[in-house]
């Protein structure tokens, strides 16, 4: 190509402009096919753009004949086809994958500020090129021009500081997808295409290339394409991992990826025409955004089951956090549908959380296991439910907002003997969430009471209730949030309940044992200087021995897992048993010892009983217990 003589003139005239256009007509010239204008000499770029402007001017000129009009139109078409190719090529050269990890680190460390200069830690991570070129060369070509990287950094500083002035509270972090000077090139092409009425072409080229860039980064982020059917079929464990990954990816997508695409559109198309930047932005990200949100949507409509609650809440919280950013990034009328979808998913997740909670209540009420846990210890259901509601209290902040209605106690189950009654009037002022937690504890106890009936021994049934309600109390006390929500009043009730169970146990087991140690019936009636009926006394001792032995044997296999509770109950037993036995022994020992084989009747010393009580509620296996006794 020869250097044109007329370079530098204000106007170059239609003839020479047409010549320049035709020289770059790639349907004709081999050389034009081989080279890109914008990759070569800047002078040639300017010359070409000027030629395009000249042609444009001749269109609006009124003094032009029909014949000339056709010539001009043809030149415009050739120029626009060329510019379209140039536009595409520049965009293509600047498709880069993000370094996701460093971006994530950024999002994590300074999530509330829009930062300036360190935008450069968005490195054009160009694996693709490193295979062929040295990394530095790759980096240089990634900026389109070896000498411009410095400018890029400088620019990113100035541009983002402008941004931070009005988005300082947002977590949005725009990065420069394309260096500043290249944007100027793109802008100068776009302006001319749009002026010539080639807006649609421009939008389509732009959208198709940038969408590939978004797709590339989607792959990097692990944004998967899963159908709703796929997601419904996946194991929950696998989904939990995917949810975690999705939350991470969604943050990067909304705050960095989409936000930066939007900024790029604004940079290139701002001031060129109304809403063109927006059209380009939507052309680029609409599909990807829908793909991204489809996952959360699929989760929000998945089958409800208790184990899903907390991940659903995580997802909900992540979306709540993202929503303001989504509203900023997708603020235009044409991105309505994306904002709406995000809001819909959010409300579905909220609904799912509510549904799961009521589902959980149902499940607690109906949990059907009939096998009594051996030794009256804590039922697995109690552990599960209490751990579950402790976790709920970890999500208190979210759930207080989501749970707006009281538990459906009366209406849903009314007149049904298979559900407990509960009066909420004395719990005025509590949040619906707190009422739900209390209600869950109520139905848990109700279910446990049903289960306690499966014990043949009523003492053991009481011990079982005591253990389980005590466990509930301990769990509530162990979590400040839970304790605050349940409230001291209800906690007092619960405490009273397990104490009552302890009392009932003692009554059921010990009244009959202690009954052996009463005075009545031992004295021979008749003579004033009455004596003691030896045979009756012997029977009393024998039956006491037998009963105690039986209780000892049985209740050593029972179990109170909480050592303090175990200790307290033993002390309480000793306090009743030991003084009664000591005094009985004191009053009647002589009568037995004066007869034959006293050891047959007085088997236990007071110390023996004291030691024996220590075996109670240890949860010995039967064989263990026998072995201990024979020692």
């Amino acid at each position: 190509m020869e250097p044109p003589e007329s370079y530098g003139l204000e106007t170059i005239g239609f003839e020479s402009a047409e010549k320049i256009i035709l020289r770059w007509d790639s349907t004709v010239s081999e050389e034009a096919r081989e080279k890109m204008i914008f990759e070569g000499d800047r002078c040639e770029v300017d010359r070409y753009l000027q030629a395009v402007d000249e042609i444009q001017r001749s269109i609006s000129s009124t003094t032009i004949s029909d014949d000339d009009q056709t010539k001009v139109n043809s030149a415009v078409q050739i120029a626009m086809a060329r510019l379209e190719d140039e536009f595409r090529n520049i965009l293509l050269v600047h498709i880069h994958a993000f370094d996701i990890d460093s971006l994530l680190a950024d999002l994590g460390s300074s999530s509330r500020t829009t930062t300036g200069g360190e935008n450069s830690d968005f490195l054009e991570d160009d694996h693709l090129e490193q295979e062929e070129e040295t990394p530095t060369a790759a980096a240089a070509s990634a900026f389109g021009d070896g000498g411009r990287s410095g400018d890029l950094l400088k620019h990113s500083e100035s541009s983002t500081s402008a941004v931070s002035s009005y988005r300082s509270t947002s977590s949005i972090r725009e990065i420069d997808l394309i260096p500043y000077e290249t944007i100027e090139d793109l802008k100068s092409i776009a302006e001319r295409m749009i002026a010539a009425g080639y807006l649609r072409e421009c939008i389509q080229v732009y959208g198709s290339v940038r969408k590939s860039a978004v797709d590339l980064n989607f792959k990097r982020l692990g944004v998967e394409k899963l159908s709703i059917g796929d997601i419904q079929r996946l194991e929950w464990d696998a989904l939990e991992t995917k949810i975690r990954r999705w939350i991470r990816a969604a943050k990067v997508c909304v705050r960095i990826l989409f936000a930066s695409e939007k900024k790029l559109c604004e940079q290139i198309f701002d001031g060129v025409g109304t809403a063109i930047d927006d059209a380009c932005f939507m052309e680029t990200v609409k599909g990807p955004a829908i793909q991204l949100f489809n996952f959360a949507e699929a989760i929000s409509i998945s089958r409800r089951s208790p184990e899903k609650l907390f991940k659903i809440l995580d997802l909900h919280d992540a979306l709540v956090e993202l929503l303001p950013d989504i509203e900023v990034v997708f603020d235009s009328k044409s991105s309505d549908s994306i904002r709406v979808q995000a809001a819909e998913i959010l409300s579905r997740l909220a609904e799912a959380a509510r549904g799961i909670l009521s589902e959980f209540e149902n499940a607690v009420l109906r949990e059907p296991s009939r096998v009594a846990v051996p030794g009256g210890t804590i039922h697995p259901l109690t552990r599960y439910v209490m751990n579950y509601i402790s976790l709920i209290s970890d999500y208190k902040q979210t759930l207080i907002d989501l749970i707006m209605s009281k538990p459906s106690t009366g209406s849903r189950y009314s007149g049904d003997p298979s559900t407990p009654d509960m009066d909420f009037t004395e719990l005025e002022g509590k949040t619906p969430l707190a009422l739900h937690l209390i209600w869950i504890i109520v139905i848990l106890q109700f279910n446990l009471e049903g289960k306690s009936k499966h014990y043949k021994d009523t003492s053991l049934a009481h011990l079982f209730m005591m253990n389980n309600v005590h466990y509930i109390v301990q769990k509530v006390k162990g979590s400040p949030e839970l304790r605050e929500m349940i409230g001291d009043d209800y906690l007092k009730k619960l405490t009273g309940k397990f104490r009552q169970a302890a009392t009932s146990y003692q009554r059921a087991t010990w009244v009959k044992v202690l009954y052996c140690l009463r005075d009545e019936g031992l004295h021979v009636s008749g003579g004033f200087s009455s004596g003691v009926s030896k045979s009756a006394l012997r029977e009393r001792f024998k039956s006491f021995n037998a009963m105690f032995e039986e209780v000892h044997r049985t209740e050593a296999t029972w179990f109170i897992p909480d050592s303090q509770l175990r200790e307290e109950l033993r002390i309480s037993i000793s306090e009743k048993l030991i003084p009664a036995y000591r005094s009985f022994l004191g009053r009647f020992r002589s009568h037995i010892e004066s007869g034959k084989h006293p050891e047959n009747y007085i088997k236990y010393s007071v110390e023996d009983l004291e030691t024996a009580v220590l075996d109670f509620f240890e949860g010995y296996s039967v064989s263990q217990h026998l072995r201990r006794r024979s020692q």
Binding site: E34, A81, V93, G229, Q291, N294
Partner: protein
């Protein structure tokens, strides 16, 4: 339109239902009456969908002014309306005022989970079709470029070339759909470049430049989803035909038919083998119109399937025909154009413009309506699951 009429009676029935104290068995007559009404509504609604296109289909004239030609955007919107009506009525029959235990008894303990499974498949199809509408919109944009170019008089080389480029992309978008997503990125204005920047970046070849990709997993197939929706569809027989299995069957048939039609009309991922076996016994009165529609659309599908068509959407078919003849015109174009040709082209351009206008007006509402269908299916599924959960008797795994 009879719509308002049965809407009225339908609402009336709901309020009666609510106030009724339903005894377990004593409502069989009411049930039969409801079923009869439901079947009649289905028959009427689909007859309406079938009838208006009878006059238009025979006419080859593209300027036919008949309101809603079969498989046009406005016809599809009517179809979705019909679906929404049927769905609402069905849900009322199934759930309202009913003892939950009734829908967990055999054979419903099997039929309901199967229906819920169909619902999930329908949701994916809704998403795929919404996505496919973007392809249609893309074609619309390309056609608009051609209209813009050819609207300028006199025809010069420049305009014709510009139009041809857009139309070629349009044809590529139409042919290249299905398997890999529409590969309709605008082509280079010249052949493969051997030098320059592209060579340095040939490693980017894997990027598959296209402005549209399917947003669902790669192995997802619209045709397979439809097949799965109809695979276990069996008309209830004997005593079951007068009970709840009947509405469940009818609604399942409606949802399968509607989804099948949408997939046939709108570009969708993987439609090989879509020619659906529609297992509905011919003697069922309520299904007559649906069966007739199925046959008609099925025939059209058979004709177009081999050609790798973009789908049966009426507007797309029109664009395809016009684009072909306009490309022929462009290929043989020599300046100056003959007066006769110019007039011919002008009328074709006007038609394309009209079609584009229909697309511009109808596609967004169609997408919104699809979204509404999506919401409805989700809601019903959730409600039915709630009922099942409250009985605590679901044994079959439901996805």
């Amino acid at each position: 339109m009879r719509a308002p009429e049965y809407q009225g009676s339908f609402l009336g029935r709901i309020s009666i239902r609510r106030n009724q104290v339903m005894s377990m068995e004593g409502n069989h007559d009411q049930e039969l009456e409801d079923l009869e009404l439901f079947q009649r509504h289905i028959a009427d609604r689909f007859a309406d969908l079938l009838s208006p296109q009878l006059q238009t289909l025979s006419e080859e004239s593209p300027s036919s002014t008949a309101a809603d030609p079969l498989l046009s955007i406005s016809w599809l919107r009517k179809l979705l309306d019909v679906f929404l009506c049927c769905e609402a009525e069905f849900k009322a029959m199934l759930i309202m005022g009913r003892d939950p235990s009734q829908i967990t008894k055999p054979p419903l303990d099997r039929l309901i989970p199967e229906m819920l499974d169909r619902a999930v498949k329908a949701l994916d199809i809704c998403n795929a079709v919404t996505n496919g509408i973007e392809t249609v919109r893309h074609c619309q944009k390309l056609a608009e470029i051609a209209v813009t170019a050819l609207d300028q008089k006199p025809f010069g080389d420049g305009q014709v070339k510009r139009a041809k480029k857009a139309l070629s992309s349009l044809m590529m978008a139409m042919v290249g759909e299905d398997k890999e997503g529409s590969n309709y990125s605008r082509s280079w204005s010249f052949g493969r470049r051997s030098g320059g920047a592209a060579a340095n970046h040939k490693d980017r070849g894997h990027l598959h430049l296209r402005s549209h990709t399917w947003s669902i997993s790669k192995n997802w197939s619209a045709a397979k989803q439809i097949q799965a929706m109809t695979a276990n569809l069996q008309a209830p027989r004997g005593g079951e035909a007068s009970g709840l299995p009947s509405p469940v069957y009818i609604m399942s048939t409606v949802i399968a038919f509607v989804m099948w039609t949408m997939v046939a009309a709108i570009p969708c991922q993987e439609r090989n083998g879509l020619g659906m076996h529609f297992p509905v016994p011919k003697q069922l009165v309520w299904a007559q119109s649906m069966i007739a529609l199925h046959e008609k659309i099925g025939e059209e599908w058979k004709k177009k399937e081999k050609k790798g068509s973009v789908g049966l959407l009426d507007e797309m078919q029109r664009l395809e025909r016009s684009a072909q003849s306009l490309i022929e015109f462009a290929d043989s174009f020599q300046f100056p154009a003959e007066e006769e040709r110019v007039e011919e082209v002008a009328s074709q351009v006007a038609e394309v413009a009209e079609t584009c206008q229909k697309m511009a007006d109808g596609l967004v509402p169609l997408q919104l309506q699809l979204r509404e269908v999506f919401h409805r299916i989700v809601r019903s599924r959730t409600e039915i699951l709630d009922v099942l959960d409250s009985t605590g008797k679901v044994s079959a795994p439901i996805i």
